[in-house]
């Protein structure tokens, strides 16, 4: 057989049938369900008199519009309450495994899946949310789907897909001091653009990627979608197997060994063909952040805001100017030193224990700057509990951060945590589109350590000056 990529192998392994036009019926191992994109799918099943083919391959959580404050109080916003109650009714009616709001296992679906050992290497994983790509860090093919497809997976445990093209992004070397997976990923998106991965699945490879822990790999795969890719992947290795071992829903004992033996066969073969290749040096990457309203508008923290006048293409020039106006920035200004109003550390990109530790290292012994609201939103109840065991909550609370309950929170302005117009936010999330964190809000995407640095100095700051 010709040499195959990791993507090719997972794909080939899950094809049920290929239709004459090249579309495949692809078998789905894990279906993750949340409150926003599922109600209409359940509605569709009910109308057609259908059931879930495999509820035991499905898991439901609430995350997008749960409040991250006191959970014992009833949810105030009637529409949020309605979506959550609708999901609770649906999981009962259709027999879907569910982590309820008050469970310690509740959290952002993309944090919960790997944490529980529900997302495993070599699997096909889907969820009605674009950042499903996160689970690709496990070495699984994971991608976001729409609500009609959610219904399709529920009814058939399959999805109709055409194979994607293969792209490999290789990062070699050792990242410098203060440079995290988030900086690497922002640098990659800056390099290839928000359409750089369109139609492709990106495999991240190279020594800098191998050196990342699972949380870092998840950050990378999470934002593959911001690079336009269908999914991101990292080949499963010892780091992956150690991470999986002992998780609640992972295979145990001999089953685990059998699974590992299979997972070891998945890595891309020598000489496999990639349709597109990009290589970066880790040493060239500085702490990085975005200045505009597209994830590709990145700068090193030492950089200056670009000048639209230098841009030859007219449409781009206009777009850049619009971004500057929206973001309240001047061409040519140094990005460091720009004052922030809000700091948000959370989201499926950066809300794992490793992320909180990185932020705490910067926050420790310091105070949140006057007039800045800084919030820490752990990715799951379990992350929160572990952080509390390690005393991170104390570090944050002493410094003046808010210490909140798990959920999507200010990542998307869909729950009570949002920006007000004109507020500038240093955010560890993944999207900086206009209004993403609340109407008129201005988002700078950056790493947890950089976000913490912004919190304690009150402005966008090079974290290397603090640690």
């Amino acid at each position: 057989m010709a040499p195959r990529t990791l993507f090719d192998k997972i794909w080939d392994d899950h094809v049920v049938e290929t239709l004459p036009d090249g579309t495949s019926i692809l078998y789905i191992d894990r279906h993750l369900v949340h409150e926003v994109t599922s109600p209409q799918a359940f509605e569709g099943l009910r109308l057609a008199g259908r059931r879930l083919r495999h509820p035991e391959r499905t898991i439901a959580v609430v995350d997008h519009n749960v409040p991250t404050s006191d959970r014992t109080q009833p949810i105030e916003e009637p529409e949020s309450r309605n979506q959550i109650e609708t999901l609770e009714r649906n999981v009962k009616e259709f027999g879907v495994p569910y982590f309820p709001l008050l469970s310690a296992n509740q959290g952002i679906v993309h944090v919960v899946g790997p944490e529980q050992g529900i997302s495993l290497p070599g699997m096909t994983i889907v969820c009605g949310d674009s950042h499903t790509s996160t689970h690709g860090a496990m070495g699984s093919l994971a991608f976001g789907i729409g609500t009609s497809e959610v219904e399709h997976v529920m009814a058939t445990q399959t999805i109709l897909q055409k194979p994607a093209k293969n792209m490999r992004v290789t990062v070699e070397g050792v990242p410098g001091h203060g440079v995290s997976a988030k900086d690497i990923m922002l640098a990659i998106i800056g390099r290839i653009g928000t359409a750089g991965g369109t139609g492709h699945v990106i495999e991240f490879a190279g020594s800098a990627i191998r050196g990342l822990d699972m949380a870092g790999r998840m950050t990378l795969c999470n934002m593959s979608i911001e690079a336009g890719a269908r999914a991101g992947l990292v080949a499963p290795d010892e780091t992956t197997f150690e991470y999986v071992r002992g998780r609640p829903f992972a295979p145990k004992g001999e089953d685990f060994d059998r699974a590992v033996a299979y997972w070891k066969t998945l890595a891309t073969d020598e000489g496999a063909h990639f349709d597109k290749e990009v290589t970066l040096r880790a040493e060239d990457i500085s702490p990085t952040l975005t200045w505009g309203t597209s994830p590709e508008t990145v700068l090193p923290i030492s950089g200056t805001v670009p000048d639209p006048a230098q841009e030859p293409d007219e449409a781009r020039r206009a777009q850049m100017q619009r971004m500057l106006d929206y973001m309240g920035l001047e061409a040519g200004q140094a990005i460091a030193g720009t004052p922030v109003d809000v700091v948000f550390i959370g989201s499926c990109t950066n809300s794992r224990i490793e992320d909180l530790r990185a932020a705490a290292r910067v926050a420790e012994g310091r105070k949140v700057a006057q007039g800045v609201r800084a919030m820490i939103v752990p990715g799951s109840g379990n992350v929160k509990r572990q952080a509390e065991e390690e005393g991170l909550d104390k570090v944050f609370l002493d410094a003046g951060f808010e210490w909140r309950e798990a959920g999507c929170s200010m990542c998307l302005g869909m729950n009570p945590d949002r920006l007000t117009p004109g507020q500038r936010c240093a955010s560890t999330s993944n999207r900086n589109f206009e209004g993403r964190q609340g109407p008129g809000g201005r988002t700078h995407l950056l790493s947890p350590a950089m976000a913490a640095a912004a919190a304690v100095t009150g402005c966008l700051t090079d974290v290397r000056e603090l640690v």
Partner: protein, 207 residues
């Protein structure tokens, strides 16, 4: 799903690239548990002013484009979040066909699943169609899916590519689930094989 055969309609031009799904339908309107009723929030930030009144400069607030059924934009339409609310909002507004030089993958798929035809045409062609669109009532565009052509008001025909399977589903108004369930035996065969080869595969049960 409604069949898509031919559409002769008013087209609206939104000459912007990277119109993301947040622009098509902002996240705060996603709390519905039904598919209909999102049309009035489509393009909310562009369509309404801060006091909630209509922005008279926005094309979809002007006659005759309030009745537009075709939307033409520049590159990468529908990027950003995978929310299917974006095509639902477009459909509920009355849009049945979107034309752009390129589309984001998930949005492109979601259009088909909801009976909206996405057509990708080179930028110069989109620009010409936008010129037609700006003439409003006098310049309807016709989309003939069976023949795979867009017919300009002056009669010129522009042909487009479409995946034959998707074309068939749109023309027949068929939903995917029914189609796939015809392959039930294949799915069961797959599951039996998996059971043998990946006997370690855990099930999820929560008491």
């Amino acid at each position: 799903m409604e069949k898509f055969t031919t559409l002769s309609a008013i087209a609206a031009a939104l000459p912007e690239a990277n119109i993301d799904t947040d622009k098509i339908i902002p996240a705060r309107f996603l709390k519905t548990t039904q598919r209909t009723g999102l049309g009035r929030h489509a393009f909310d930030a562009m369509r309404y002013r801060e006091d909630g009144s209509e922005n008279p400069d926005f094309v979809l607030n002007r006659e005759p484009w309030r009745k537009a059924e075709i939307l033409i934009t520049f590159d990468n339409l529908g990027c950003g979040s995978s929310r299917e609310h974006a095509p639902w909002a477009l459909l509920d507004f009355g849009i049945r066909c979107v034309i752009a030089p390129s589309f984001a993958d998930i949005f492109f798929n979601n259009c088909f699943k909801n009976g909206i035809l996405p057509i990708s045409l080179p930028r110069e062609v989109c620009e010409r169609l936008m010129d037609d669109a700006s003439m409003g009532e006098n310049a309807r565009l016709t989309v003939d899916l069976a023949r795979q052509v867009v017919i300009r008001p002056d009669g010129e025909e522009v042909s487009f590519d479409i995946d034959p399977f998707r074309k068939h589903l749109l023309l027949e108004g068929l939903d995917d689930i029914g189609q796939t369930l015809q392959h039930e035996q294949g799915i069961t065969r797959y599951e039996n094989r998996e059971h043998q080869e990946k006997s370690w595969m855990p099930s999820i049960h929560i008491d």
